[in-house]
């Protein structure tokens, strides 16, 4: 029996997910030994036409990281979907929109205007913007279209499994690869991580008081963080109670609050709202003014609670823009 054929692809993301694959270290040799990598533009020279040339469903599994922002990404996503049996959204961007997803707080025009005319490092007095088609002596050069919004992968194509995280924890990746190889896969649509929140594996859980009441919000740079005590109890916005576990709590172990890259557990429909609800409910005050003062301390609720997940919220993007 021939080895399963695997692919990796990279859309709108930082590249950290590719790094996570490399982080398998020696285990990557096992992977390479077990599968036939037929598509990995980051590591080897593959072109779109190579994919086109494949039969539909020829690839057994494809790990796709990154969100979808351009027409080219959208096109290739569809292409990969057709050629692949199992599509795995790999990493937060692909899973929920990720950091690029915060682009949905602005319109396409706002972003282009800022990036090509107002950014510190830009000198562009003629206000030249990237064109989709440009005539050069050699003919026409095409650039992909910068779409109006960012989408997670499942908002573009059907996704079979999700490997959450920014980047996905190596252990989860290893488990996923093994599952694919052994064919012992959970129901389609499953997020390949434990369905319990991070508090479960948090070393500080016992220091979390039973009667936690939030009276203030601190930002990590404002205090010296106690290394033993529950971060929430120290006034930090730790999203651990709402975020999937499986990462081994590296941030908390590094004395930093969880920022929610693994996203919500399976029952939650809108990760940001769910996290906001738990914090707001825990406010101590009953006075509207005091509550508002506390709310004011959360400077950027969208960025704080939907850092990795804006496109997959109910609202998807800023409205009325």
């Amino acid at each position: 029996m021939s080895k399963p054929k695997a692919g990796f692809n990279w859309f709108a993301s930082c590249g950290g997910c590719e790094e996570a694959v490399v982080d398998l270290h020696e285990a990557i040799l096992d992977v390479v030994a077990a599968v036939d990598i037929v598509f990995w533009p980051c590591a080897m020279d593959f072109k779109k036409d190579d994919v086109r040339a494949m039969r539909d469903g020829e690839m057994d599994v494809c790990f796709i990281n990154g969100a979808i922002r351009t027409s080219e990404e959208e096109e290739i996503a569809h292409l990969l979907r057709r050629k692949t049996k199992i599509v795995i959204a790999f990493g937060s961007c692909s899973h929920m929109g990720g950091i690029p997803g915060l682009g949905n707080l602005f319109t396409r025009d706002e972003i282009l205007e800022h990036d090509f005319t107002q950014s510190f490092s830009v000198v562009n007095p003629e206000k030249t913007y990237p064109q989709e088609v440009t005539k050069v002596p050699e003919g026409e050069v095409e650039l992909p279209r910068f779409l109006d919004y960012v989408r997670s992968l499942n908002q573009v194509i059907d996704v079979d499994y999700y490997l959450p995280g920014c980047p996905p924890p190596v252990a989860l990746l290893r488990n996923a690869v093994q599952a694919v190889l052994s064919g012992e896969l959970p129901p389609r649509g499953t997020v390949l991580a434990p369905d319990k929140a991070l508090c479960q594996e948090c070393p500080r859980l016992d220091s979390k008081p039973d009667d936690l009441a939030i009276t203030e919000f601190k930002r990590p740079q404002e205090i010296i963080i106690d290394e033993e005590k529950c971060l929430l109890a120290q006034g930090l916005l730790c999203l651990g109670p709402a975020t999937r576990s499986g990462c081994g709590a590296p941030c908390v172990n590094g004395n930093m609050p969880c920022t929610g890259c693994l996203g919500p557990t399976s029952r939650v429909k809108d990760y940001g709202l769910s996290t906001m609800t738990v914090f707001a409910s825990l406010f101590e005050s009953k006075d509207e003014k005091e509550i508002d003062e506390l709310v004011d301390k959360i400077v950027d609720p969208v960025g704080s609670f939907n850092r990795y997940s804006l496109p997959s919220t109910f609202l998807h993007r800023k409205a009325n823009v």
Partner: protein, 159 residues
Amino acid sequence: MSDAAAFEPRIVAFFCNWCTYTAADLTGVSRMAYEPNVRVIRVMCSGRIDPEFILAALREGADGVLIGGCHPGDCHYIEGNYKMLRRYRLLLKYLRAMGVDERRVRLEWIAASEGDKVQRVVNELTWTIRELGPLALPVMPQPEGAGASEESALAEANA
């Protein structure tokens, strides 16, 4: 704005069983007519209302959401309404940041005896939203949407 005349807002209301739902019953018993745009969903306590329900309603096509609970200090479950109040205040900030007019989501304390207040609040909210117009949340293309067929067409053309 010519559409505004034809536009009829859809409003979902979450009312707590003990105060506001009972008040809405009283509005009925007292035959105080109000705008027919609101659909009431009963929960036991305003503390049961998850902001996810509110946004789910907006996503499903509601143009506004009304939340009704007992007056502060009157909660049948002691202080569920305060929990809702806290969520609501934070939610408003989130809505502002997301470009949704906060007047679309209204929290009101309505006691069981305030049938007239149900009438007033529902009317006011309906009129406000009529002025604001449809919410029209941005919709993203769904999987297997236009993009998919385009790509197939493209693929065929290139083949």
